[in-house]
Symmetry: C2
Subunit: 430 residues, 2 copies
């Protein structure tokens, strides 16, 4: 399956951008024309979930509504209008007279995406892979088995139709049994990147069981730091949004760091009141407990609650806040609230070492759609390749192409010795 996906992906890459565009539009069309088939399959999954007494939020994620499908179709059509991501020249250099080097964008190869529950991930990821000419292996959750199978079938047919038979549906493989995951993780000579989208436990399991590079995030321990200069209104609004807009999201706030001055000037108390009014339970670190800011103490300084709970602690300076974040954060998203004219904002933006660092903005903006990347394959807290929300750019790599423009042969020995036949010019052309 992986070899077939790679073969078809290499074929697609060699074809003009128009073919990829036609495929994307065919996928969008098919999601609408074959909507009934998809929704019917989804009903089966929902019925099984009801029988298995699956929890409400999970059922909500599992459901494929007309609205969700319409959003997907809009996104895929948008992707089809963007400039082709392949073959972009990132660097161009004359190495010597008549010898030209280019660094161009190419697909990574074959991606393995492992995702849980949400079947709407499937068309989103598939369209990003098709737009970038990557082969794809998809492993969905068993609770979405029927939905995923129907979506895979609809998309596969659309690929063959949109490419007028040039590309086979084998470019996207669907893996349905859990046992196959372990085998897939051993294919480090055929699969180039694994992207797990799911629980921390899933991501950790994958990182520990494969030599293939993994793109993703295990933890999302995000902080909001309230600077001494912050206004009460900004501090309350941003903190409540960051914690309560979607508490189980990886970009939700887990820890609130309050500058000691905000305890003096009353901002801290107002922020805590706003959080509590919004249903948030505020656990206290040692200093917060001493200052009487919370009723419940906790020792855990690095924890992803994923619900309406957070840790609150006091820091004496912005540097102490930054040190705390470096020690306890997961390098995902960190935000400061400060006065617009305070230097604290730029200090925080420069010094904090994380994928996303925000000033006077909720942590919830760390998301591919909000940052304007279009669709998102995931968020990476790794430091190599792609970092933060990852769109189609993160599914590309580069290739060095070196051309003799003069028609002559270029040898390493031509450039060697005391009186070389040729010399390097190393002139940047771009």
């Amino acid at each position: 399956m992986a070899l077939r996906a790679r073969r078809e992906a290499r074929k697609l890459q060699a074809l003009p951008a128009e073919v990829r565009r036609n495929i994307l539009n065919a996928v969008a069309d098919a999601l609408l024309t074959r909507k009934d088939e998809i929704v019917q399959a989804n009903q089966l999954d929902l019925a099984n979930a009801a029988q298995d007494k699956v929890a409400g939020p999970l059922v909500k994620r599992l459901g494929l509504t007309d609205e969700k499908l319409a959003t997907l179709v809009t996104g895929i059509r948008q992707l089809a209008t963007l400039p082709d991501p392949l073959g972009n020249v990132k660097a161009k250099r004359e190495l010597a007279d008549g010898l030209e080097l280019s660094l161009t964008t190419v697909p990574i190869g074959v991606l393995l995406i492992i995702f849980e529950s949400r079947p709407d991930s499937l068309p989103q990821i598939a369209s990003l892979a098709l737009a970038s000419s990557n082969g794809l292996l998809l492993k969905g959750g068993k609770e979405a088995y029927h939905s995923n199978t129907a979506l895979h079938d609809v998309i596969g047919d659309a690929i063959e139709k949109g490419s007028e038979g040039l590309i086979s549906k084998d470019i996207i493989g669907l893996v349905t049994s859990r046992g196959q995951v372990k085998d897939l993780l051993s294919l480090d000579d055929t699969i180039d990147l694994v992207i797990p989208r799911g629980s921390n436990a899933l991501v950790s399991y994958i990182q520990e069981n494969t030599k293939i590079p993994v793109l993703g995030h295990a933890d999302g321990v995000c902080h909001v730091y309230i600077d001494a200069s912050a206004s009460e209104e900004a501090a309350c609004r941003i903190t409540v949004d960051a914690k309560t807009d979607y508490p189980s999201a990886c970009n939700a706030m887990e820890t609130l760091l309050l500058h000691a001055d905000t305890v003096e000037n009353g901002v801290a108390l107002n922020v805590l009141q706003a959080l509590r009014s919004a249903g948030v339970k505020c656990l206290g670190g040692p200093k917060a407990m001493k200052a009487g800011l919370s009723d419940v103490a906790t020792q855990k300084t690095k924890h992803e609650y994923g619900d309406l709970t957070c840790l609150v602690e006091i820091v004496d300076s912005i540097d102490e806040a930054i040190d705390w974040i470096h020690e306890n954060g997961s390098g995902h998203t960190e935000a400061i609230v400060c006065a617009p004219d305070s230097p604290a904002g730029e200090i925080f933006l420069q010094k904090v070492d994380a994928a996303c660092v925000f000033c006077n903005t909720s942590t919830r903006f760390a998301d591919g759609y909000r940052l304007g990347l279009g669709a998102e394959v995931g968020i990476s807290t790794g430091r190599i390749h792609a970092r933060g929300p990852v769109g189609v750019e993160g599914l590309l790599t580069t290739k060095w192409q070196l051309r003799s423009l003069s028609g002559e042969s270029y040898l390493a020995t031509d450039f060697a010795g005391a009186d070389p036949k040729r010399t390097f010019t190393h002139k940047n052309l771009l």
Copy 2:
């Protein structure tokens, strides 16, 4: 040691580019002023190598001559004149009125470099890490113990002097005992990237024993394909250069693919004669044996000889050559020899999936210095992050910075609902 390196690296990153430049120049100065100390330590290693009856080529690699030191110093001074690689804005976007996103370059964090024998790697890698504000842990070979210790000491003092005490020598740690490597490989929460520079066995061992991303190449199985349109002169010259210029290098040719027409028109015979005259043993694949091109058959189609031996095989078309390369190559460097006006060159450059793809040029150009990257930390055959020869660019990652320019607070909920308070503009500013 890793934590200290990270702490110092974060400090260096926050300082102006001038400090990094001063440090690099101080390192270059110190390598000259303390030359005697370094050469003396190197003599000790050479004496031990002689006692242990180490082979000639290894001794040559171990030796630190005045000439090698002078080349290093020139390289480091060049690096100091280049534009600062940090803080470059790769993308800038208005997300909404008054809300601006930037994607800027930042250091990766802490690098672990494991290298064998050549002590001149140490100052080269150290200067690339300092230029990009990365913390560094270095593990050299035991045969270069005294040389590495002296170099580490000289560079450490220069860092403190060049930064006027702002940065401690702890930014670069030297690991001297072999037992520590296993412990280092388990520090996936502190070390961000491992770069092994050495044998295939070393690279494979590291890939199998760590969750930390590894940048490097295990195999260098490079091909030269002689197209039907190739001239005899170009075919002979490029092939001999690619195989014999430095046979143990990873970018040397291991397999020669001959288009069937070149067997008819005599080019193939001349290429083989030129190789044999240069001392190369040509093993034959099944088709080559049948055509009488070799005396010794081999079944191994994917093998890195690393000496004056190569595999020769016949292909019936450029597509067959490309398929062969995809099946048996290691994705390192692949070259075509063809007539300057033949479409084969561009077909090969586009279709071959490898880090480096060359037309009418020896495979030996796959090297950081020749490609104009300045110094090189290694060559990557991985497909994510950096691919091919890797210079200072490969030691960078990015950070998303999001700023409220209006001074107002931006909340995710502002953008939600049927009649949102704010709307996304997603306007690219760069």
